[in-house]
């Protein structure tokens, strides 16, 4: 991956101001073993019972800091989400949203989508995490499971370029439509963008000032 640059194009210094390269290794948590503790065991059992393909769909289960994360395979995401929502014992009525995380050094698993779910009936939370390769960032859309995922998926597409298949209109939501790139990926610079209005452009600070 390309080295990250700061707003003013500072390179190769021991700068702690935050503008220099941010090449960092991200962690990947190991799989947790049973018993998970808290309500997580019950929840996992219920899901396994309700979803026969559990072992096939779930890559790993992580229990960390009192939170349960299920790593789901992209192809099975929709099924898992539907079961989580519908099953009497699970009842995750609320899909609180999806969020992208970019791990450029995880080969073929660069883009992670993280779903936070909430069950009002049982007062429980769960997190689903799905990894997709940057070269083929496709995930099934969950708008049919939780209508409110609509904008969250659009935001995640806008910021990370994850494409949610089946979304009714997966267009940019926060950035203008003629924007280049997905700004919250790790390989996208923090700043240095020209302003354009009415066809007139004002160059970005990094190009105007003699910071180079």
């Amino acid at each position: 991956m390309s080295e990250d640059k700061g707003a003013f194009g500072v390179q190769g210094t021991g700068d702690t101001s935050g503008f220099s390269g941010l090449v960092r290794a991200a962690h990947s948590a190991g799989s947790s073993e049973r018993p998970y503790g808290s309500y997580f065991d019950d929840l996992a059992d219920d899901l396994e019972r309700a979803y026969p393909e559990f072992n096939d769909a779930i890559e790993k289960v992580v229990v960390d800091r009192g939170e349960l994360t299920l790593f789901v395979k992209a192809a099975k995401l929709f099924d898992v989400a539907t079961i989580l929502r519908n099953n009497e014992k699970l009842r995750f009525e609320y899909g609180l949203g999806v969020n992208g995380v970019h791990y450029p050094d995880q080969k073929d698993r660069e883009l992670h989508a993280v779903y936070e779910l909430l069950s009002l009936t049982h007062n429980r939370r769960i997190r689903l995490e799905v990894a997709v390769p940057e070269s083929h960032p496709h995930l099934p859309s969950l708008v049919e499971v939780w209508g409110g995922m609509n904008w969250h998926e659009r935001e995640t597409y806008d910021m990370f370029g994850i494409i949610f298949d089946g979304h009714p209109a997966l267009t940019r939501i926060l950035m203008p439509d003629d924007w280049q790139g997905h700004p919250q990926r790790k390989d996208y610079p923090l700043g240095g963008i020209a302003v354009e209005y009415k066809g007139a452009t004002t160059p970005a600070p990094s190009e105007r000032r003699s910071y180079r």
Binding site: R85, N86, R91, E93, L120, T121, V145, W146
Partner: protein
């Protein structure tokens, strides 16, 4: 000699001077009114309000006017140029015209000439005011249409519908006054109120007029044409500079106009309030102008009060109110009022009149009760919308105490 005849005898130059005086009064009143509104609303909101320009900020509206006049004049490209220019002129000219028939004083001496401060007295003076008002709407509609933009168009349509509907209610509310005064001339109507203000005698008419005058002038809570929250500025969204100032002026002169009409028709015009009649004889005819202006400003204060207190009505509620409440009420009131009048003219006995009054009262009460019943029945019968259950689980409501419902 009646005031009307007195005015009829004015030579031309006196009329010209009177016209000038009326115009100056209008303009000064407007400048003062805008300042007063801003100060009073500020006071209602625990603020200070404009106090920098002139003493107490009195010249604030003058500064606004001059500033607006000095601004760049923009005609949007999509606008219909001619109409765009004509519209504010129509608004600003018609608003002054209704003052021609407003009796502002009793008998006064002007340059040695005994007359009254009323430009002319038409036998159909009040109708004339209505006619002028209906021409005045053109300013708003044309402004909305010619701006070539969505918000002004919607604002213009709203306000024309609004003014037309409320003019009907307003006209109907005046019918009772015509019947009791036996004339449509403003001077005669003032004279006919010697025995009592029509605001008291014809109280329902007065209320209806008060409501429809707020609707007619597009003021809060009926300021739908320029509903800032929805239509930005309504019909004058695209107007800038002097043209906008003209609309601004027209709005306030119109308020003064309807207030003056209300004063004339319902509050005894330029006459002193009951009990203070001696002021007229002691202080002379010119003092009656003070009474007149005082009453007009009292109405204006109500306008400000409404604006400081109430939220805006919704368009359909407002129209419904006009057509389904105000107009039928005025129709019923006209019938009742005219019957009373007839009974009185025929010298019917007190018992007959009382009996009729009680009968009408009972009928109205019965009608209201019936309608309340039926609406209650309708509300009970209105079953909840029958739709399938949602395809997804919904958390159940466990709590049953609510703060409403």
């Amino acid at each position: 000699m009646s005031i009307g005849q007195l005015i009829g005898m004015d030579p031309g130059w006196i009329s010209a001077i009177k016209g000038l005086i009326a115009f100056v009064i209008c303009v000064l009143l407007t400048l003062f009114a805008i300042w007063a509104e801003r100060r009073i609303v500020a006071r209602m909101q625990m603020r200070v309000g404009p106090n920098r320009v002139g003493k107490f900020g009195l010249l604030q509206s003058l500064a606004d006017g001059v500033k607006l006049a000095l601004k760049e004049d923009i005609i949007p490209k999509a606008a219909d140029r001619i109409v765009f220019v004509i519209a504010p002129i129509i608004s600003a000219t018609t608003c002054f015209m209704s003052f021609a028939v407003m009796p502002m004083t009793g008998k006064v001496s002007l340059f040695g000439h005994t007359t009254a401060l009323q430009l002319t007295d038409l036998p159909v003076g009040v109708l004339y005011v209505l006619a002028i008002a209906s021409v005045g709407v053109y300013g708003i509609v044309l402004a909305g249409w010619s701006s070539g933009s969505t918000y002004p168009l919607l604002g213009g349509l709203r306000s024309s519908a609004q003014v037309i509907s409320y003019e009907v209610a307003m006209g109907l509310s005046l019918v009772a006054v015509f019947m009791y005064a036996g004339s449509m001339s403003t001077a005669d109507i003032v004279a006919a109120q010697g025995h009592g203000w029509y605001a008291v005698i014809l109280f329902p008419s007065f209320v209806i007029y008060m409501i429809s005058m707020v609707g007619e002038t597009n003021r809060a809570p009926f300021d739908l044409a320029e509903a800032e929250g929805e239509l930005v500025g309504g019909f004058h969204t695209e107007y800038s500079s002097l043209k906008f100032a003209l609309f601004f002026l027209a709005e306030y002169v119109n308020i003064m106009g309807v207030s003056a009409l209300a004063t004339t028709l319902f509050l005894g015009g330029y006459h002193a309030i009951p009990g203070l009649g001696f002021t007229e004889s002691w202080l002379g005819g010119w003092f009656t102008l003070v009474w007149f202006l005082g009453k007009v400003l009292a109405f204006f204060f109500i306008f400000i009060w409404l604006r400081g207190t109430l939220p805006r009505m919704r368009y359909d509620q407002f129209m419904k109110f006009g057509w389904k409440v105000l107009i039928p009420t005025s129709l019923v009131w006209i019938m009742v009022g005219s019957t009373f009048h007839l009974l009185k003219m025929r010298n019917a006995s007190r018992i007959t009149i009382m009996g009729f009054g009680i009968g009408v009262f009972l009928l109205i009460m019965a009608g209201l009760t019936m309608s309340e019943w039926s609406s209650k029945r309708r509300a009970e019968n209105a079953t909840d919308i029958e739709l399938p259950e949602p395809s997804f689980p919904v958390p159940s409501i466990t709590r049953s105490e609510y703060i409403n419902g």
